[in-house]
């Protein structure tokens, strides 16, 4: 270990630690408890601080940065309301296993527990929605704690880590020798780095026995950067592959073996193949209730292989036959090796017959929609967005119908391009998440597919976008309804549209202009493509595209609550 003879105060240590971790952006908002830190940030250039307009947006932006780059996202907020505002973003990252390190200011140690100004029990409030959290009570513990925070956030099953720092810990007048630990080991935290080879062999045997195999993959493939291995495996076996909402881009959507997303709004072919398969290979997916539908009816004839870094995800919802605990990438490497060395081949005849069956389901063309409508169909907007951006954009979304349409119609060929809140379903996620992506990739096309409900939950970030010149393209699918709520009310509440109508909407064009951006209103199907092209051509401007869409459009297919995967409502 290199010992450097430097004496730093807590705030300088904080900044130095971020540099050591290679942090380029910190998303945050200042306040009393973190003023010392902000003073240290002011006096250096390397770590760039991005000033958001609300702490929730800081966490979503850091989250978008993390999802698109694979590096941990970093936030800095003040105590009390700063911390509570960040909680939604922390919980969002927790549900989707996104590595975040969130620094929260805290009142000075001698005031903790005194109901001091802007005091909350941040450790207590965040405990159920973090991978781990730390309260730093002594400046001498600060560097080691930050090291631990990054280590825990980024290894094993990633997740958000909160570091709560009382104001006196960053006192500029208390200087101590600074050494940043080069490596770390924790006796109580030892993430698995490799799968059990015997289990892998067992899994391969089962996979080669399959007559109706199905490969079902989730966010774990994306998080562990295992898309190349997955693609190799699928191509080698020529088995059908479906992605969860979180797993999109893990296998290229344009390949023949891709049968679309599965689950509540999955494709007919994906859900039918899931239901009928005899061997299910689940990779970095967690059998979420939106994926399985009614668990009693889930994959009734399948034997199941499950690869997951988190042992607690295995046999939690669905009992599996061959569990493999380990990071997806290395396990798939082993699996490919075992397959290469195996003398067996998949049963060609059975697989051909299986594909014939799947192609039959494909012919239903379950994602077709009315292309002759006089109203703008939201699906068509996403279709055109895909064409105009050549499928090469980063697409952040909010939550609701538009999210499902974006997932269904933007055919992701690459991982880390689809940025959405899958687990928690956080409205307001899209715009700040898109900001995080745009900071990471300043020259890339970043689209935020949203709705008039969601966008208003973090609309204030239009101001942040102006300050930093972020040329995000906002695709607002405006149907004047909280569409997904409306859809459920239509299907399950006899059309009693309780509180799902968005009255008194702002003029989004003027609103965008008021923030210094370009606004566009598009209300005719014939104008959609040209408008998108015009917006994309404005390379250095944020364009808010307000698409007035068909109010009655629903997301299909849909599995109603209690249904099995083969019980879909189709158009």
């Amino acid at each position: 270990m290199e010992i450097r003879e430097v004496e730093l105060n807590g705030s300088q240590i904080f900044v130095q630690c971020l540099k050591e971790e290679g942090v380029d952006f910190v998303f945050g908002y200042p306040g009393g408890a973190v003023l010392h830190i902000y003073d240290a940030i002011f006096q250096q250039e390397e770590v760039k601080h991005i000033l958001v307009r609300h702490e929730q947006a800081a966490t979503h932006a850091a989250d978008g940065y993390a999802r698109s780059t694979g590096k941990p996202g970093v936030c800095l907020v003040t105590s009390g309301p700063g911390a509570t505002n960040a909680v939604t973003g922390i919980a969002t990252a927790y549900m989707d296993s996104i590595p975040l390190v969130v620094f929260t200011g805290q009142v000075p140690t001698h005031l903790i527990g005194n109901d001091a100004f802007q005091e909350v029990d941040t450790i207590g409030i965040t405990r159920p929605c973090v991978k781990h959290n730390f309260l730093v009570k002594d400046v001498r513990d600060l560097a080691l704690t930050i090291k631990k925070a990054f280590y825990v956030a980024t290894t094993g099953r990633p997740g958000p880590v909160v570091v709560d720092i009382p104001k006196d810990v960053t006192d500029p007048n208390v200087r101590i020798p600074f050494v940043y630990p080069k490596s770390i080991s924790m006796r109580s935290y030892n993430p698995t780095v490799k799968g059990n080879l015997r289990q892998v062999k067992k899994a391969v045997d089962l996979m080669l026995d399959a007559r109706r195999p199905m490969i079902y993959t989730g966010g774990g493939v994306v998080l562990n950067n295992a898309a190349p291995q997955l693609t190799k495996l699928v191509e080698k076996l020529n088995y059908p592959c479906t992605n969860t909402l979180m797993g999109l881009g893990g296998f290229p959507a344009s390949r023949r073996q891709f049968v679309g997303m599965l689950g509540m709004h999955g494709t007919y072919e994906a859900n039918m193949a899931m239901h009928d398969c005899d061997v299910l290979i689940a990779i970095g997916a967690r059998f979420d209730d939106r994926v399985t539908g009614n668990i009693e009816k889930f994959c009734p004839t399948a034997r199941i292989v499950h690869i997951d870094i988190d042992p607690a995800s295995i046999s939690k919802n669905v009992k599996v036959d061959v569990p493999i605990v380990g990071p997806v990438g290395p396990v798939l490497d082993d699996m490919l090796k075992v397959l290469d060395e195996s003398k067996r081949e998949p049963d060609a005849e059975a697989i051909t017959a299986w594909w014939e069956k799947i192609d039959g389901w494909r012919e239903k063309d379950c994602l077709s929609y009315d292309t002759q409508s006089k109203l703008i169909k939201p699906q068509m907007v996403v279709d055109k967005l895909y064409e105009v951006t050549h499928g090469d954009a980063f697409v952040a979304s909010d939550v609701g119908q538009h999210q499902m349409w974006a997932a269904q119609y933007y055919r992701f060929d690459l991982p880390r391009r689809w940025i959405n809140s899958g687990g928690l379903g956080t409205m307001g996620f899209g715009l700040p998440a898109a900001m995080g992506v745009q900071f990471a990739y300043p020259d890339a096309t970043v689209a935020c597919v949203t709705g008039e409900g969601s966008i208003q939950m973090c609309i204030q970030e239009l101001s942040t976008c102006k300050q930093y010149g972020l040329p995000i393209k906002i695709i607002n699918l405006n149907n004047r309804y909280l569409g997904m709520v409306r859809q459920w009310q239509e299907f399950f509440y006899q059309g009693r549209y309780s509180m799902s109508y968005m009255d008194a909407l702002p003029d989004f064009v003027k609103l965008a202009e008021a923030y210094g951006h370009v606004g566009m209103l598009i209300d005719k199907p014939g104008d959609v493509e040209a408008a998108l092209k015009e917006a994309m051509a404005l390379k250095d401007r944020l364009v808010f595209m307000d698409f007035i869409t068909d109010q009655t459009e629903n997301v299909y297919p849909m599995i109603p609550a209690g249904g099995g995967l083969n019980e879909m409502i189709l158009v």
Binding site: S188, A312, S315
Partner: protein, 163 residues
């Protein structure tokens, strides 16, 4: 089924609430929970008694293992083990009841540890069933106060839980 889970965890502020928070957040029940530092002051040892079918117990142990503060755990119920709980009982003790209560606590191999003109305070150790049985045997009208430690457990023989 009833399970006794032994947990070694970092003796740090908040570690206990991570465990108890996990149980409330995921809807698992805690029958009892006993915790104190070990011979190594950086570690606490916790004995937790819970109920659930095999799938739930599997989830409980996996979720506990996931907590960063948990160093190691063992489901004692999986092997031979010893379980002890300590109970302090205060009862009304006047006239003829004094003899009767004394006899009862002797039968259960407990001790009277504090005596006044009107009360006995008793100490009793054993597995939880034995303590329950004592409370059933004591006339409820006499019972003033019960304090139970929650179960502590340890595996028999060579099996042991160490960091």
């Amino acid at each position: 089924m009833r399970h006794i889970i032994s947990i070694l965890l970092e003796n740090e502020a908040g570690a206990l609430s991570r465990v108890s928070g996990l149980f409330s957040a995921r809807g698992y029940n805690i029958e009892s929970l006993a915790v104190a530092p070990t011979e190594d002051p950086s570690l606490s040892r916790m004995t937790l008694v819970t109920r659930g079918d095999d799938a739930i117990i599997e989830q409980i142990t996996k979720q506990l293992n996931k907590l960063v503060d948990v160093v190691k755990l063992q489901d004692l119920t999986e092997g031979a083990h010893i379980e002890r709980e300590m109970m302090l009982v205060k009862s009304r003790a006047v006239a003829g009841d004094r003899e009767e209560i004394k006899r009862l606590i002797d039968i259960f191999r407990g001790r009277v540890i504090d005596v006044t003109d009107t009360t006995y305070t008793m100490e009793l150790t054993g597995d939880s069933d034995k303590l329950d049985a004592f409370l059933r045997a004591l006339d409820p009208k006499l019972l003033l106060e019960v304090v139970r430690s929650g179960s502590n457990g340890i595996a028999r023989g060579e099996r042991s839980l160490r960091a």
